[in-house]
């Protein structure tokens, strides 16, 4: 396959960026999207050009590092991560636009790499159970109903990639935040901090400069792990409950 790529190039956080056009030849349909970019970068290095910077690590869809907006879609046309997107999803001769996540809270570091530390700070605000090492009771002391455990797992699957923010027309981080709130709040272990968790995490989310939620639903459509939109509703319920109780 032969493709035309239009890629966002930006030297560093302070520089202006623009789309640059590249031709990539000899693309196999079995390649992942990132392997296709590897091919481009190998060529760029040999011609003395700066290769395209992009975040990636595990390349098996779980670390959440890869983060490309491909033809306007976070992680591209399939519901998966960029690293698991394969070139068989494209046609020979296609022109593909590749851009970084766009959000004020995710400033561009270089080219397609953005700074997602805002997510870490949201977790730091309350996305944990205070259970210092050694203080744990026997694991079977508290049975957890299977539906609750499954519900927690479904939300705990979030990989923190930020596709929800990238896809949201408002640049909101509600899906990310709600996934962690719901994961911990449904479990008996998370119950003692249930109220402060949701209030603190939402406050931090607002402070980071993410947009507001209008329930457009783009986040859930883009989420490679299928975190459902009603996760946000559930967090709203938790939030109202906590606000009513005044912690």
């Amino acid at each position: 396959m032969k493709l035309t790529l239009r890629v966002w190039r930006q030297q560093n956080a302070d520089a202006d960026g623009a789309m640059s056009t590249y031709e990539v030849d000899g693309v196999s349909p079995d390649m992942s999207f990132l392997e296709m970019l590897d091919t481009l970068n190998e060529e760029l290095i040999l011609t003395g050009e700066d290769p395209v910077a992009f975040d990636h690590d595990c390349r098996e869809g779980i670390c959440g590092a890869c983060s490309l907006v491909i033809n306007g879609d976070a992680h591209g046309p399939e519901r998966t991560t960029t690293c698991q997107l394969h070139m068989r999803s494209f046609e020979d001769g296609d022109t593909i636009d590749v851009e970084p996540w766009r959000a004020a809270a995710f400033p561009v570091v270089k080219d397609l790499v953005v700074d997602r530390s805002a997510f870490d700070r949201i977790i730091q605000a309350g996305g944990y159970v205070t259970a210092p090492t050694g203080a744990a009771p026997e694991a079977h002391a508290t049975p957890v109903p299977k539906p609750d455990a499954d519900f927690a797992f479904e939300h705990a699957e979030c990989i923190g990639c930020g596709a929800c923010v990238a896809a949201c027309p408002n640049g909101a981080a509600m899906l990310f935040t709600s996934a962690k709130v719901n994961h911990l709040n449904v479990l008996p272990q998370g119950a003692p901090e249930r109220a402060s968790r949701v209030l603190d995490m939402v406050a931090q989310m607002d402070e980071e400069g993410f947009g507001g939620c209008t329930l457009a639903g783009e986040c859930a459509t883009a989420c490679p792990k299928g975190i459902p939109l009603f996760s946000i509703t559930k967090m709203n319920r938790e939030f109202l409950r906590a606000a009513r109780k005044g912690r």
């Binding site: 390649m31 040999l46 690590d57 399939e78 499954d150």
Partner: protein, 648 residues
């Protein structure tokens, strides 16, 4: 003197494990260890490199104890460490199933699974601590799979006959890591951990014979800085990426451990690498990494190849009696659940016989037709749905209809920095935990044991033993950036990076990485020979020389430069690869993941030579390309007596 003419130095021994009955050693050690007064702990700084299961849990726990922790990871967030990709599960001797499990059995299975090349004291402690790990993780809100009654579910894994593996669908590593990450996040918010993401350790600072800090590069700005502490903990993972293609993350690397080795830490059993039997076969030269399919699939999937050589019929058209379920045939009692090294080698053997399937004959079938018929598609979906999806996404084949194709791939490295019972390396004040050390798995790691070891080291072992070091070795002087050792290490690091940038040759970092990786896979992979290893040992210095003449790294050091990061890691692979080959060459026996063709039983199984090789090989660095010195740690087996491993 050539590289392979190494000298044998003084033996090395673990002096920290107490004597006495093995079940009491850990308690004794904890009691005998000196403690640091809680009020004094915040005056101590501990550097932790890496935020995976071992590093994340250690950083969080040390901070909870009151130490000031300065932690590093090359990823943009501590949550992305590669532990996150572990799929199958975590072992613990809870015996919730009442199926005869116990701490002693887990200990026994692990020593035996490691083919009698691990230290008994360490393994027993691991089995003891395993029980606490599950409690700890549940308390953190890790959503383990549960039964309808609300209690934890378990499953069985390769190499054992009890059901002791706790899991969270096919994402156990992710869930455990997020638990550790969240605990770490709490400590970051509390100001007890100073976290440096996107910062890569490039060297170790050793002052007066003790580890006192590291040199690290800010990957965004390119700034190289020194950081100081009273102790340094390496939790930087394994070195499987020497092979270029592996199941490791793209950026997992050996630089932290290799630089520590160069500064005096012995490197133990570098040739012990684990080739995982169930990975998705490669599709072409463009391949950048290999993807693992959880070993748990072997619980219900059946592995087979056609009986006839060169059978090109589609799997579904091969009748039952023309299939060879070779694991069930050769190992009737363990069947598809034999340990990884055995399953991998068996797959290689049938492929070498010309009975492999898929492109290039490099694959065997993992068939779920029987499981689907027995349990129904729904149940299979519930158990393995995400793995099937992943397989389909990568291969474009539907495993519900056609059998999966799998092939072994490099997955884990049992070797690593030599550590004693306290997890301290031969450099005082330098500790290594998790995959970065060599301690618990011997020559082969059992499934679901890596997560157990990482968390055991990080949550429970290191936080107890590091106290002793800090209490006994109070530092009189603080090290500062103008200390001559520090300026020298900084200058060396800068010179190395500048040199990489200055060569301006005609080959990319990846091309060298691929070359060394293919060489290693060929000669230091699943089967090794004297001849092949010598070939590799001849070739590696040549590649190294060519590297320094032809490498091309664009850009500068003062910017975000992924090519420079890569090239610098390859510098270390090019030295580590040599040591791995030498270690494999010198160990003229087969054991676990290390299979020397010259040493096998009549029926093709690995033949250990205990009288000669019942030791851990700890290598001391003497200079790039210079023959290292071998220090042997004799392994004494008081409780599990070495026998020929049998899974038949």
């Amino acid at each position: 003197m050539t590289y392979s003419d190494f000298a044998t130095g003084e033996p090395v021994a673990d002096t920290t494990a107490p004597a006495g009955p093995i079940a009491e050693r850990w308690d004794t050690r904890r009691f005998e260890a000196k403690l640091v007064n809680p009020a004094n702990r915040r005056k101590h700084t501990v550097i932790v490199v890496g935020t995976g299961l071992a590093g994340g849990s250690a950083g969080a726990t040390l901070a909870e104890q009151g130490y000031h922790v300065v932690q590093f990871c090359y990823q943009d967030s501590p949550r992305r460490a590669h532990s996150i990709a572990a799929q199958g599960g975590i072992n613990a001797a809870k015996n919730y199933r009442n199926d005869g499990d116990s701490v002693h059995r887990l200990f026994y299975d692990t020593v035996k699974g490691g083919d009698f090349r691990a230290r008994e004291s360490n393994v027993h402690r691991l089995a003891q601590v395993s029980v606490e790990i599950i409690d700890q993780c549940v308390a953190q809100g890790v959503p383990f799979a549960r039964e309808y009654g609300g209690l934890l579910d378990t499953r069985s894994f390769g190499g054992v006959q009890v059901s002791r593996t706790f899991y969270a669908r096919g994402q156990t590593g992710q869930q455990l890591l997020l638990g550790a990450y969240q605990a770490l996040s709490r400590q970051i918010a509390a100001g007890n951990v100073e976290m440096h993401p996107r910062t890569e350790m490039l060297d170790l600072i050793v002052v007066d014979g003790r580890a006192r800090g590291i040199v690290a590069r800010d990957l965004i700005t390119g700034k190289i800085s020194s950081y100081f502490a009273d102790a340094v903990v390496l939790a930087s993972g394994g070195y499987g990426n020497v092979f270029y293609l592996s199941t490791n993350a793209m950026n997992s690397n050996a630089t932290a451990v290799w630089r520590a080795h160069r500064r005096g830490a012995y490197f133990a059993n570098p040739c012990f690498t684990q080739i995982h039997p169930t990975c998705i076969p490669r599709t072409g030269d463009h391949q950048s990494k290999l993807t693992l399919m959880s070993e748990s699939l072997r619980n219900d999937g059946r592995i087979w190849v056609p009986k006839a050589k060169g059978d090109t019929r589609p799997a579904n058209e091969i009748p039952e009696d023309e299939r060879d379920y070779y694991l069930e045939r050769i190992y009737p009692s363990f069947g598809n659940l034999v340990p990884r090294d055995i399953a991998s080698r068996a797959a290689k053997n049938v492929c070498d016989e010309g009975r492999g399937v898929g492109p290039g004959g490099q694959g065997v079938y993992l068939d779920f037709a029987d499981a689907i018929a027995r349990m129904g598609r729904k149940a299979v979906e519930a158990k393995y749905g995400n793995l099937f999806e992943m397989y389909q996404r990568i291969t474009d084949e539907d495993p519900y209809r056609v059998p999966m194709r799998i092939y072994p791939a490099v997955h884990y490295t049992m070797g690593g920095l030599w550590v004693d019972y306290d997890l301290q390396t031969t450099v005082p004040g330098l500790f290594a935990i998790g995959e970065a050390n060599f301690s618990d798995h011997g020559a082969n790691r059992l499934g679901a044991s890596a997560l157990m070891q990482g968390l055991a080291d990080g949550y429970f072992v290191l936080p107890s033993t590091i106290n002793d070091y800090l209490a006994r070795n109070p530092h009189q002087k603080t090290v500062t950036a103008d200390h001559p050792v520090v300026t020298e290490v900084l200058a060396e690091t800068e010179d190395r990076l500048n040199l990489l940038l200055a060569v301006d040759g005609d080959r990319t970092p990846d091309s060298f990485h691929r070359e060394i990786g293919e060489l290693m896979w060929e000669y230091c992979g699943m089967a090794r020979t004297d001849e092949g290893l010598r070939k590799a040992l001849d070739r590696i210095p040549q590649i190294r020389e060519e590297f320094w003449q032809r490498i091309k790294v664009p850009g500068t050091g003062e910017q975000f430069n992924q090519s420079l990061e890569k090239a610098n890691r390859i510098v270390d692979y090019l030295e580590l690869a040599e040591l791995m080959c030498l270690d494999a060459l010198h160990r003229r026996e087969s054991c676990g993941g290390h299979f020397r063709e010259e040493s096998q039983t009549p029926d093709g199984e690995a033949a250990r030579r205990d009288e000669e090789f019942s030791y851990a090989a700890a290598w001391e660095f003497t200079g790039t390309g210079a023959a290292p010195t071998l220090h042997k740690e004799d392994l004494v087996f008081e409780y599990v007596h070495p026998t020929q491993r049998s899974y038949a």
